[in-house]
């Protein structure tokens, strides 16, 4: 602003005498700023904005001059709004003394277009419903992003701990917790529930893989029965990931688990999902609909499960794929967030609770390697502490994208993830902490 040259002080003070915010609308200022506002309709909104911007500058500048001339500009400034310049903020020229904080009301609206509810899905069945679980778990039912103030979240997040039907290679920090039960899936499942606070267990029938042991489906189903006997929480049954063998394995497992309302993991587009879906429908189970980081594939598979295979909506959970922190979690996060937002906004092919294979976090070298393979890196510190936090942060991130059920491995990770998700959910009471003087805290 260089407006002073062409203006005489007398002109200025004349103008300032009857200056108030309202009258700015009709003011014409000449100089190298020419503003000629006539008001009325037909103004280009962009132009109007720009003019508004200009005006606010002029008023500020003039108020500044007014202060020098003894005009009580503070009052004017206090009642003004929109003086703030858009863009990179800077210290403005004017620095009037203000003695009292300007009054202000903080308001923010709830999101209007979150109109659809995420489907509620119940896992497990008690004796009253033809199963033998002591209790059931319900996930889903959200009307907003997780933990948001827009709407209550009806169910907390849940964790299912991984159990394998044969010893597998695991990160050392994980293995240490399971060494005594690694050859006995039933004992393993018991330990997960009894000692590690698992809400559910997942029995992974990995030995059925033709490339591993090629255990027959019938034999694998016996392990499922053992696990159902050993624990009374709802269970997930996982295949080996072999697309040729899994449908047969999961169908047989579904049969022996009839009535227990297990989660069958999983149906995907690259295998005979119809067979898995049919087993779920025939024996009263829930299907995990698994796709790989692709929202349209997720829609397609869900559509096929509902329309082609007649799986009821309340029997579908989706797994849009979990990539570990540092290994594609950005894709996994945004994919889940997009799915959840689309569901809330009414895309009924995506209104399903979500599940995450959070255990994938242990694939990150940061979780399991003794030290960085790169000499330039700063010291990575003890891996015993790195692994669990990698699993926690991977899960926590996806919980904020809307994930409901977490498949996990490390007891510490389970404990901390449950603590933080239930804190955000509002179920954790703790002593109030006064942070008003945190700077001086002794730590």
């Amino acid at each position: 602003m260089h407006m002073t040259k062409k203006m005489k002080l007398s002109q200025l003070s004349n103008m300032l005498q009857d200056l108030d915010v309202e009258s700015m609308e009709g003011v014409t200022i000449e100089g190298d700023i020419e503003l000629n506002i006539t008001g009325g309709g037909g103004l280009d909104p962009a132009l109007a904005y720009a003019l508004g911007h200009e005006i606010s500058h002029v008023s500020l500048h003039m108020a500044n001059i007014a202060r020098m001339l003894g005009f009580p500009a503070e009052q004017l400034l206090a009642s003004a709004f929109g003086m703030a310049e858009a863009g990179q903020p800077r210290a403005l020229q004017a620095s009037p003394k203000i003695q009292e904080l300007l009054a202000s009301k903080f308001e923010v609206a709830k999101i209007e277009n979150w109109k659809s509810q995420i489907q509620e899905v119940t896992l497990g069945a008690t004796s009253g419903d033809g199963g033998s679980r002591k209790s059931t778990i319900t996930i889903g039912g959200e009307n907003a992003l997780p933990y948001y103030f827009d709407a209550g979240m009806p169910h907390r997040n849940h964790v299912t701990l991984d159990v394998f039907d044969m010893p597998i290679s695991m990160a050392k920090a994980v293995k240490a917790n399971y060494e005594d039960v690694i050859n006995d899936p039933a004992e393993w499942a018991k330990k997960a529930v009894r000692d590690f606070n698992a809400d559910m267990v997942t029995i992974h029938l990995i030995s059925t893989d033709p490339l591993i042991k090629d255990t027959p489906a019938k034999e694998a189903a016996k392990v499922v029965e053992d696990v159902l006997q050993a624990v009374d929480v709802p269970i997930v049954i996982g295949g080996s990931g072999n697309p040729e063998k899994d449908p047969e394995v999961l169908a047989k497992a579904a049969e022996v688990a009839e009535g227990e309302r297990v989660l069958l993991a999983s149906a995907s587009l690259n295998l005979d999902y119809e067979r898995i879906a049919k087993a779920a429908v025939d024996y009263g189970h829930v299907v995990l609909s698994w796709t790989q980081l692709e929202i349209n594939a997720q829609k397609e598979l869900n559509r096929k499960l509902m329309k082609q295979c007649n799986v009821p909506r309340e029997s579908i959970v989706v797994d849009p794929t979990t990539a570990a922190l540092g290994y594609g979690l950005d894709y996994a996060y945004s994919n889940m967030e997009r799915i959840r937002l689309a569901g809330l906004m009414g895309d009924d092919e995506l209104t399903f609770p979500m599940s995450s294979g959070t255990t994938n976090a242990w694939g990150a070298r940061e979780a399991w390697m003794v030290s960085s393979p790169l000499s330039q890196d700063s010291d990575w510190g003890p891996r015993e502490y790195r692994g669990p936090i990698w699993e926690i942060i991977t899960g926590l991130t996806l919980s904020l994208a809307g994930n409901d059920l977490f498949m996990m491995m490390h007891p510490t990770s389970v404990q901390v993830l449950k603590e933080v998700t239930q804190t955000l959910y509002g179920a954790i009471e703790s002593e109030e902490i006064d942070i008003s003087n945190w700077i001086g805290a002794e730590v």
């Binding site: 962009a46 400034l77 703030a84 310049e85 863009g87 990179q88 903020p89 800077r90 210290a91 004017a94 620095s95 009037p96 203000i98 904080l101 202000s104 903080f106 308001e107 923010v108 948001y148 103030f149 591993i212 990931g241 922190l325 540092g326 594609g328 979690l329 950005d330 996060y333 945004s334 967030e337 997009r338 070298r365 940061e366 960085s372 790169l374 890196d377 700063s378 990575w380 510190g381 502490y385 790195r386 936090i389 942060i393 926590l396 991130t397 904020l400 901390v416 804190t423 955000l424 959910y425 509002g426 954790i428 009471e429 703790s430 902490i433 945190w438 700077i439 001086g440 805290a441 730590v443």
Partner: protein
């Protein structure tokens, strides 16, 4: 920003299609302005005097909803804020969350210098460059201006990193400012009691300032309005970070509300937000529990709208996940992430080691690479240039072909016949249908690996070394 179509931006451009910006037309340039991949100053003609007004108008229209605030100077300046969206997939998040780790003025001087050096030297290699942390926050625990000034001075002498001066005592902050005023430090903080004196300091020294109103968004907004009216918009808002229980849930709500209001156009509070995961240390005595919980709180507010934060734990198991979750959130989702195409050695391969093919999609590449490395399989791994597309889609879309594979291997100066004893290529299971083509094109034996690289170890046990024909 206030406009959302290229046409609205185009109206302000010279319209000469001069091409100086690197785009063929002004309309194409306008599209880049809207998606924020180009800056208006890249249009040279609009910088001329005759377009001055249009330049200024368009600059205002393009300004991000959340103001950008600078802390520090020169090469080490930290920019925070600048966001236009609530969800990263809607555009991208700008100016990644800045992490400040604390030192305090009752620390032994030698320890302080060591800690500052550790903070400024921390680095971790990731996808082609190093991840680092950003700032030092100096806490006044002595309540003594002279002591505080001495600590700040030591920090200034030790590092170029931006600095946060932390005290609620104006005299203390003034003493700190006197020895760091050339470094554009961030003041922490003005609160309900001291705001007048802190505002004077912020204006006198022309430095950014944090406003602290724990769980009181109304007060926070009042302070922000008042500071703006007094003449500074270099503001950072701290709504308080309560570390546990219902208070943490409320903190989460406050962050969501603040950012939502800012993005939706409440200019009075459209400033960067500060989180203080440090407070986790007020809830936990055991350092591992405190570090863990601090990392958890830091992650929540890196994901949900924290633009800058003050942390205490410098344990690698805290910093590593923190810098990775930040990278996760701030990676531009519009750009496919890829690795440089070419040959990578995993372990220490010899002439007998397998040769594997994957794509240069970073996620695929790093997954395959870590699967191989974790199973200690020494091998040669090619990242074929598929424009950063994964195997399945690249086969379907024609970005992964036999000729691309041949070219990729040849470009690395690798000769399968001379540099291996087996003249064999292993292609991904998801590219099985290229087997015949690759055999014809390269003259090598081609084996089809598993569809999931997690199965490579088992596959190798059965299939490697290949049986001599």
């Amino acid at each position: 920003m206030k406009i959302n179509s290229p046409l609205e931006a185009y109206k302000f451009l010279p319209g000469t299609n001069c091409g100086e910006c690197g785009e063929l037309t002004c309309m194409a340039f306008a599209a880049h302005l809207i998606d924020r991949s180009k800056k208006l100053t890249e249009c040279k003609p609009i910088l001329e005097d005759k377009f001055k007004k249009k330049f200024e108008e368009l600059t205002a229209l393009l300004a991000p909803e959340i103001r950008e605030v600078e802390i520090g100077v020169g090469d080490r300046v930290s920019k925070i804020g600048g966001d236009d969206v609530l969800y990263r997939h809607k555009l991208t998040f700008f100016n990644q969350t800045q992490f400040a780790y604390d030192v305090w003025d009752t620390m032994d001087e030698k320890e302080l210098v060591e800690r500052v050096n550790y903070i400024q030297d921390f680095k971790k290699f990731y996808v082609g460059s190093f991840l680092n942390v950003d700032m030092v926050a100096v806490r006044c625990t002595s309540n003594d201006p002279a002591k505080f000034a001495a600590a700040v001075k030591k920090v200034v002498e030790t590092t170029d990193m931006p600095i946060i001066l932390c005290s609620f005592e104006p005299a203390v902050l003034k003493a700190g400012l006197e020895v760091s005023k050339d470094r554009n430090p961030l003041l922490y903080a003005a609160n309900r009691d001291n705001w007048k004196e802190i505002a004077d300091l912020a204006l006198e020294y022309d430095v950014p300032v944090t406003l602290f109103a724990p769980d009181d968004l109304e007060l926070l907004k009042s302070m922000a309005k008042t500071f703006a009216a007094m003449g500074t918009e270099k503001l950072v808002l701290d709504p308080g970070t309560f570390p546990t229980g219902k208070q943490l849930r409320q903190t989460f709500t406050n962050f969501i509300k603040l950012r939502r209001a800012g993005i939706e156009g409440d200019r009075d509070i459209a400033y960067p937000i500060m989180a203080v995961p440090f407070t986790a240390w007020m809830a936990h005595d055991d350092p591992v529990s405190a570090s863990y919980w601090e990392t958890v709180v830091a992650s929540i507010f890196t994901i949900k709208y924290g633009d800058i934060m003050i942390l205490h734990s410098t344990e690698p198991y805290a910093i590593l996940p923190e810098i990775h979750i930040r990278d996760t959130m701030y990676t531009d989702p519009r750009k496919p992430v890829s690795v440089d195409p070419g040959m990578y050695k995993v372990g220490e391969p010899t002439v007998d080691s397998p040769v594997l093919i994957t794509t240069n999609f970073a996620l695929t590449y790093y997954t395959v690479e870590s699967d191989l490395a974790s199973s200690k399989i020494d091998c040669y791994l090619w990242a074929i240039d598929t424009d950063g597309i994964g195997v399945e889609a690249a086969v379907a879309g024609g970005q992964l072909t036999a000729s691309k594979i041949k070219k990729g291997i040849e470009d690395s100066g690798f000769d399968l016949k001379k540099d291996t004893t087996h003249n064999t290529i292993i292609i991904p299971g998801l590219a099985a249908r290229l087997q015949g083509d690759v055999e014809d094109e390269t003259g090598a034996n081609v084996m089809v690996g598993p569809a999931d690289s997690g199965r490579i170890p088992g596959w190798m046990d059965k299939n490697w070394p290949p049986q001599k024909k």
